[in-house]
């Protein structure tokens, strides 16, 4: 569903590479977690996948179509939810959802069905008449999610989707993500919440300084350790067990 092939991004010609030669393959039915510290290159990669940022080298394919050469066709079958949901604050929630429906050319009857279903699931139906500007961060996030689902995308790309969500909404989103992928969709999302990634993802990729450190099935990547231990070892060069052993030795 999403193929990132030797993707490289430099913001300034000849400057530092924000992401260097990244290759990933997200297949239908997979929830793919993208892990890394702040500034590792996650958002840059995600924005390139959505056609927001162009890139220096490589290729990104959505359902076999090039994001560079056929951006509109790619955008029609995917949806993006940013980490900071900067929505149109001057619109009401329902105006925003209808706007998304119009932009994706969703027929009125399907739109109505989706609004009732997804907004209900996210618990924002009652607030749909209010201005987005009056929403809390979590409500904006929920509205962005509902808006992204209006056209039944095959690929969901999400940047830190759990930030600002209350436990109920996070639970519903996790359940939705699983259901979405079980029905043949694919999800590529970044997160800092390692527990969520460990429990939810089928595959993960860990990136540091724009370079891919590890990727693959979650079980293969983490082996017998916890994802947290593997992440810290790879990204921060911290040997959790050794440190603990040393602490233990000192205490003894």
């Amino acid at each position: 569903m999403l193929q990132i092939i030797h993707y490289t991004k430099q913001y300034t010609p000849g400057g530092k590479k924000a992401v260097d030669d990244l290759s990933l393959h997200i297949r239908p039915g997979e929830i793919y977690g993208f892990l890394g510290h702040n500034g590792a290159g996650k958002t840059t990669t995600i924005k390139a996948c959505c056609g927001i940022l162009n890139f220096t080298e490589g290729e990104i394919l959505v359902d076999g179509m090039s994001v560079k050469k056929q951006p509109l066709e790619c955008k029609k079958i995917m949806a993006y939810i940013p980490d900071n949901p900067d929505l149109y604050e001057f619109m009401s929630g329902i105006q925003y959802l209808n706007f998304m429906g119009d932009v994706y050319k969703v027929p009125a009857d399907i739109r109505e069905k989706h609004i009732a279903e997804y907004a209900g699931d996210m618990g924002i139906t009652e607030a749909l008449a209010d201005k987005v500007g009056s929403y809390s961060h979590g409500m904006k996030q929920k509205l962005a999610i509902v808006g992204a689902l209006m056209h039944e995308p095959k690929l969901l790309i999400m940047d830190e989707p759990f930030v600002g969500l209350d436990p109920k909404a996070a639970f519903i989103l996790k359940k939705f993500m699983r259901k979405f992928c079980d029905n043949g969709g694919a999800i590529f999302f970044s997160t800092h919440v390692l527990e969520v990634a460990e429990k939810l993802c089928d595959k993960i990729a860990i990136i540091r300084g724009g370079i891919l450190l590890a990727d693959g099935d979650i079980e293969t990547v983490k082996g017998n350790e916890s994802l947290e231990e593997v992440f810290l070892e790879l990204v921060d060069d911290i040997k959790v067990d050794e440190d603990q052993d040393r602490e233990g030795g000192k205490n003894a």
Binding site: C50, N54, D86, L87, V103, A108, K131
Partner: protein, 552 residues
């Protein structure tokens, strides 16, 4: 926790410095404070400010000279200073009222500052201090100019200079007090309001009208009648405008009792407002009384085209921001005023405008309809919706970039969001004028077609300039419209092309017997050709490629 006095002073100093830098940043139009203001830039800005103040002072001195001479001769010099004080107060109050509302009661950093170990009083002092400084600058320019003119004409004593300086310092307090009070009231009134933008627009227009009345009113006529009836005006100042009377007497007669009275009138209300605000500042800025929540009722939705959905979104944005509305749509308001005014007041309003702006005292009725067309076209330049249309997307740009909308759809929708209100208002205004003024077919064509062509021109040029040179990193819509140079270029280009035919007619063509209809209709044709060329360009691959680069 008690904070030591020394610490409070240090905090206050830091806060005041921050406010001053923010103010300089606002005037310099820097990239939303991302770059630190260097000492050189501060010096440059101050120099520009001084030159500007000097220019304004020079213009004011031309008005001051005859009044000073006349009132001095009549033995009512105090009235000269009282008038200067009144004008200074009015100007500073009108110019800082909305600043008070935004910077004291609705400042975005209020809660952040309150969470820091800074006493609320220090925050308030820093905010009121900045407001006072702004009022002081305006007051100093007006009253200072009045004082300098008087000194040049009749000489000055040391004590006189000291009294003038004291009065300037005191007078700025009155405007500050009233700005604070009105800002407070507006903030309270709009708290639960759903149509805040509309309320702000109406209020701003009232103040704008008052400001234009003070600045552009028939100053000379008013002055002449004042000179003739100085006794009557003096009585008004001795009555309801007593503070200005006291100020005038204190300066003109070196009357210390009057100076004390004036000081009391300025300081006591200022102190009372400051005490009241200090006591309630935390409550005012932390009480969240949002607008009443609306109940959502699912309604049948209607699918619309992508272009119309995008344009509708931009029109909703326009209708929800008073700053955007006022700055981007001022020309539409002027056109409507002209149309409605002509309908009710006949040619009087057009004669007035032509006399004031084109210096034509005996307007020939044959050329009047064409000059009205020029005037309406000129107002089209004041409409800068499209010239900020891409810049205002800033934080929301990701939506347009990540959804399947083409560059062509985005650019056409931006044109639509400008042209829907502009064309509508232009047609209504032209229709009202055609109803009110007797015209032949050619004149009617000019009154309808030239403003339309000008609106199309302004929209296309504005959008192209914004597409190529517009920034998308403005912190809010207001700054994208007000702080954008790309909004000014289309405005001035439209102004220039709108008035060019009349200039050509009055300087060259008219003398050669060529009727005014010729340059007007030629310009209309030229504008339409340019509009078509720009429309085609916006649909081209070059424009599409440029849109793809926006936000990269």
């Amino acid at each position: 926790m008690k904070i030591r006095t020394g610490k409070v002073e240090r905090m206050l100093k830091i806060l005041l410095k921050t406010r001053m830098l923010a103010l300089l940043d606002r005037f310099s139009g820097s990239k939303d404070g991302k770059k630190a203001i260097s000492a050189g830039r501060v010096a440059g800005l101050l120099l520009c400010g001084l030159v500007l103040a000097g220019l304004v002072g020079w213009v004011l001195s031309l008005v001051c000279r005859p009044i000073c001479a006349g009132f001095s001769q009549n033995g009512v010099l105090w009235l000269y200073y009282a008038l200067a004080g009144g004008v200074a107060f009015l100007l500073s109050f009108l110019m800082t009222m909305f600043y008070a509302q935004g910077s004291i009661f609705e400042a975005k950093d209020n809660e952040m500052l309150l969470s820091l170990p800074i006493p609320p009083r220090a925050i308030l002092v820093s905010r009121i201090g900045t407001l006072y400084l702004l009022n002081l600058i305006i007051t100093a320019i007006v009253v200072g100019t009045a004082g300098i003119v008087h000194a040049i004409m009749f000489g000055a004593s040391f004590i006189g200079v000291v009294i003038v300086i004291l009065c300037i310092l005191l007078l700025a307090m009155i405007a500050t007090t009233l700005s604070c009070l009105l800002g407070w009231l507006v903030s309270l009134a709009t708290r639960r309001m759903r149509r805040k933008a509309l309320f702000s627009v109406v209020l701003s227009l009232v103040f704008l009208a008052a400001f234009y009345f003070v600045m552009w009113g028939d100053i000379q006529g008013t002055l002449n009648s004042m000179m003739a009836n100085s006794a009557g005006i003096a009585d008004i100042f001795r009555g309801p405008l007593y503070p200005f009377y006291a100020m005038g007497r204190a300066i003109a007669d070196h009357d210390f009792v009057m100076l004390l009275i004036f000081a009391a009138v300025c300081i006591v209300p200022f102190a009372l407002v400051f005490i009241a605000l200090t006591a309630s500042f935390v409550r005012i800025v932390t009480t969240k009384v949002g607008a009443k929540r609306l109940e959502y009722k699912a309604k049948a939705v209607k699918q619309t085209s992508v272009i119309w959905a995008l344009a509708k979104k931009d029109l909703i944005r326009l209708g929800n921001s008073s700053t955007y509305m006022l700055n981007a749509g001022l020309g539409l308001l002027f056109s409507l005023i002209l149309g409605v005014g002509t309908l009710f007041a006949g040619n009087a309003i057009i004669d007035f405008l032509l006399e004031r702006f084109a210096n034509l005292s005996n307007t020939n009725t044959e050329i009047a309809p064409y000059l009205v067309a020029v005037l309406l076209s000129f107002f089209a330049g004041y409409c800068s919706i499209a010239s900020a249309a891409i810049s205002v997307e800033n934080k929301n740009l990701w939506i347009l970039k990540s959804t399947p909308v083409t560059a062509n759809e985005v650019l056409k929708s931006k044109l639509l969001s400008h042209l829907v209100p502009a064309v509508l208002v232009s047609l209504v205004s032209s229709l009202l004028i055609v109803i009110a003024m007797p015209m032949n077919g050619l004149e009617i064509l000019a009154v309808f077609l030239m403003p339309l062509a000008a609106h199309l021109f302004c929209a296309h040029v504005g959008l192209i300039i914004n597409l190529y040179f517009g920034r998308t990193d403005f912190p809010d819509d207001a700054k994208a419209v007000k702080g954008s140079v790309t909004s000014l270029i289309p405005t001035f280009l439209t102004f220039g092309l709108a008035v060019l035919p009349s200039i050509l007619y009055f300087t060259v063509l008219g003398k050669q017997g060529i009727p005014i209809s010729t340059p007007i209709l030629a310009m209309t044709g030229l504008l339409l050709v340019l509009d078509l060329a720009m429309f085609l360009f916006l649909g081209s691959k070059a424009a599409q490629k440029r849109w793809e680069c926006v936000g990269q």
